[in-house]
């Protein structure tokens, strides 16, 4: 029964959602809305699982005096401090409320916008350097394919950025035309092929799960 009930539920819910997709109104749509609402509740409650995991693992490492234990302690302190500030502001404890109804004056928003958002932006900005290092390796002309990649990459790059030196108008036009061709024909064709293949893969996997053929996601 431990195996059959989850499979039955998966099949039932899967078919309900599929029926709702192909129909409008009526019971299937109502069931679909209901299932989506349940999903939202599950996702919200599951946050507690995540916090529990984070606290358990980090507390264990702090008590075992892991070499990085001070960072773990800071992590837990920030986690609970931010949670505490958020709860206090939601309930208006200590008179912590938005001044003049402006939510940007809230402490939790200040921390998020002034501390967390810049840190996120810092991580994101690392991409510029990683793209350069990855491109350097990918564009090394060690084989015919890599040479083609290098030429195509160089042409697209030259078509995207202003030329550092003056070039004849005919050359500039040729580069722009070639770049447009590479992007709109060659690149799009390749991407469409991947998308079609992946979509069929998604369809196959979805049907396998809904029909109960694929069961490896369950404990058996």
């Amino acid at each position: 029964m431990k195996r059959e009930i989850p499979i039955l539920l998966t099949i039932l819910c899967g078919w309900m959602v599929i029926t709702a997709f192909f129909t409008t109104g009526g019971v299937p749509a109502a069931w679909n809305d209901e299932l989506l609402a349940w999903g939202v509740i599950f996702f919200s409650v599951a946050f507690l699982l995540g916090i529990g995991n984070l606290v358990r693992i980090n507390l264990k490492q702090i008590s075992a005096r892991h070499p990085d234990w001070p960072y773990k302690a800071i992590l837990l302190f920030v986690l609970f401090a931010y949670l505490g500030i958020g709860v206090a502001e939601i309930h208006g404890w200590f008179g912590w409320v938005a001044a003049d109804g402006n939510t940007e004056t809230l402490r939790r928003d200040w921390i998020y916008n002034r501390v967390f958002a810049p840190l996120q932006a810092t991580m994101f900005s690392l991409l510029a350097f990683y793209i350069a290092s990855a491109a350097f390796r990918a564009f090394r002309a060690r084989s015919t394919e890599a040479t083609l990649l290098l030429i195509a990459g160089a042409l697209v790059m030259m078509g995207q950025v202003p030329m550092p030196i003056p070039v004849p108008a005919a050359v500039e036009t040729w580069i722009a035309t070639t770049q447009a061709f590479l992007m709109s024909v060659v690149n799009t064709a390749g991407q469409k092929a991947v998308i079609i293949g992946a979509t069929l893969g998604v369809l196959a996997t979805g049907l396998r799960i809904v029909l109960g053929i694929e069961r490896s996601y369950l404990s058996e």
Binding site: G25, D33, L49, F116, M123, A134, L200, T205, S216
Partner: protein, 269 residues
């Protein structure tokens, strides 16, 4: 029962509204029915003994090689299941592959670290790893602390995974699932640590990054063939063959549509 009353009332109202077929979705339904029909046909043939072959996929063969290398070096395997929620089919699929990876690492006695971004994915990952260890006959190999919830924020999670790569130096990084802008940061950090890297996604925008920075890349539809490829179960192989035939039919349709569009339009209308 009183908790279910609003649902019963909503269903009662909905039943009174009546159901109607959503006409614009007819082509989608035909495509799904075609694919389903082919799938059942190949399953029937597979059950009757028809052998369904599948081509060699280097990225999938490399999974075992990567785990073997980690075992030899005595270092852990890092499995990153992407950053999307469990409702994304790529994440569900990643959990299925995780079970296989966990079975292999348990067989070899190698540590497996699974950092996750979503708490429901964490519950699934714990179950997949536990089940993989059971499949290997080594339930003691399951280490609960190695399935780690890091953060629900994209770049905080990314920083956490990059930290694990730098500090714990896994010998193999397996990145399978749905990835966004963090893909290259993870792949390049992994490359800098010297780990063997196997990545796979059906997200076409992230594929070039993985191709550039990883040793093996499982791309697009290959990603959804993993369980069929690894288990060689006829029922699963039948779906791969059905997908291939659907693709051939779609290509024929595209060619026909481009060549004979006016006539085809009249026919369809």
């Amino acid at each position: 029962m009183s908790a279910l009353t609003p649902l019963c009332l909503a269903l009662q109202d909905a039943a009174a509204d009546g159901v109607s077929f959503d006409d614009p979705k007819l082509p989608t339904l035909i495509a799904v029915a075609l694919f389903g029909g082919l799938m059942f046909l190949y399953q029937f043939l597979a059950k009757r003994g028809t052998e369904i072959s599948i081509r060699r996929i280097a990225g999938l063969d490399a999974l075992d090689e990567a785990i073997g290398r980690s075992t030899e070096m005595g270092r852990p395997v890092l499995y990153v299941p992407g950053i999307d929620e469990i409702k994304e089919i790529q994440t569900i699929y990643s959990m299925m592959i995780l079970r296989h990876v966990a079975r292999k690492t348990a067989e070899y006695g190698t540590a497996l670290i699974v950092p996750v971004k979503d708490s429901i994915v964490m519950a699934f990952a714990e179950e997949a790893v536990k089940q993989g260890c059971l499949d290997a006959g080594r339930p003691d190999a399951y280490v609960p602390d190695n399935v780690r919830y890091l953060s629900n924020e994209q770049f905080a999670y990314c920083a956490g995974v990059a930290g694990i790569m730098s500090r714990e130096k896994p010998a193999a990084n397996i990145m399978l699932g749905m990835f966004f802008a963090e893909s290259l940061i993870l792949a390049e950090t992994g490359f800098s640590t010297g780990a063997i890297q196997v990545a796979g996604t059906a997200k076409q925008h992230q594929l070039p990054f993985f191709v550039a920075a990883c040793d093996y890349t499982i791309m697009g539809e290959e990603y959804f063939a993993v369980t069929a490829y690894l288990t060689r179960e006829p029922n699963l192989l039948a779906t791969i063959r059905a997908a291939d035939w659907t693709k051939i039919i779609m290509i024929a349709y595209l060619v026909a549509a481009v060549t004979y569009w006016p006539e085809l339009k009249d026919l369809l209308s």
